[in-house]
Symmetry: C2
Subunit: 189 residues, 2 copies
């Protein structure tokens, strides 16, 4: 059910098309929730039927598939507020990389080392993208409105997550006697 609310939370900020929502749930902007466009379009159709959102008919402005802009309704806002108030479980843990380590002796140290390095690079790229988002939108955390502070903290959560990953890669390298080939401040690509 939570995809529903992730979409509603985005729409509560401003109206958006399915595609725009998808962009927020993919790549660097996807620090809260990841979803494919198929999921999102399906979910939007379902929520429209339930009356949580309304869509502007795309104003048949050409042969192009009508761009539908979704807007959250009073009912959708209420539904979202109810969900926020209701206690939720912790997100379930599922870490393929840690599973690989658990049985890592079945592969060569080189293979493990390469996989660690790949993930380290991916996490570093993600962290840099997130820090850029923070710099662009929340330069001075002390002067933010309450609403902005909450959004900033959501972003800070993702930054903390990625920072923890990078610290763990350092620890792993030390304990396994690996030296990652990419230096600390190498070019990003």
């Amino acid at each position: 059910m939570a995809l529903t609310y992730a979409i509603l939370a985005v729409l509560a900020q401003r109206p958006a098309s399915g595609y725009e929502i998808f962009k927020r749930f993919e790549g660097a902007g996807a620090y809260l929730w990841q979803a494919t466009h198929q999921q999102i379009y399906r979910e939007l159709n379902g929520m429209e039927a339930l009356g949580y959102v309304t869509a502007t008919a795309g104003a048949a402005c050409g042969q192009r598939p009508a761009r539908r802009v979704y807007r959250i309704t009073e009912q959708g806002l209420q539904q979202l507020a109810d969900w926020i108030a209701e206690p939720c479980d912790l997100a379930p843990t599922r870490e393929p990389l840690a599973v690989k380590l658990l049985a890592g002796h079945l592969a060569s140290p080189q293979i493990i080392g390469r996989e660690l390095e790949r993930h380290r690079l991916a996490h570093r790229r993600k962290l840099l993208a997130l820090q850029k988002l923070a710099d662009d939108h929340f330069a001075d955390p002390e002067v933010l409105s309450i609403q902005q502070r909450l959004q900033y903290l959501a972003l800070r959560r993702a930054i903390g997550e990625e920072t923890a990953w990078l610290a763990w890669f350092e620890e792993s390298a030390k304990l396994l006697g690996i030296r990652f080939s990419t230096p600390e401040h190498a070019p990003m690509h």
Copy 2:
């Protein structure tokens, strides 16, 4: 597919019954992968059909449902080694709590504060359980075998994750002007 390999990784350490595997995928021990017993039994049946594991027929020792102990096969080990060698994607991000913050202005500060506190307690409990595991099994990281080091790092990953959560809760409290009611070193229950 990854549940398959999480189970194989456990069976690569030692043979186990479905229930024992379930115990490792639930509660405090579930720091790598979470799954319900239903998933695990289904997966084990599937893997037996594929020849990745064999099961000892439970030796009809009473009326009790035969306890089936699974053992990984050569083929299963090969399959697992292949999966480890093949690069995998980062785990997808899905954080209900951060989504709640994003639209947090729709609820009262009290409700947000309570939910933050609930999660903070849950994460602290989890961290304490993980640290106990680390103390019990990996007291001195420097003298471990390679295989043990890899397993220790899997655990360290989970510890880093929980530590990052707790740091984030502190930051959140400061920025929102909340004081969590539970003191830093309160009893665990």
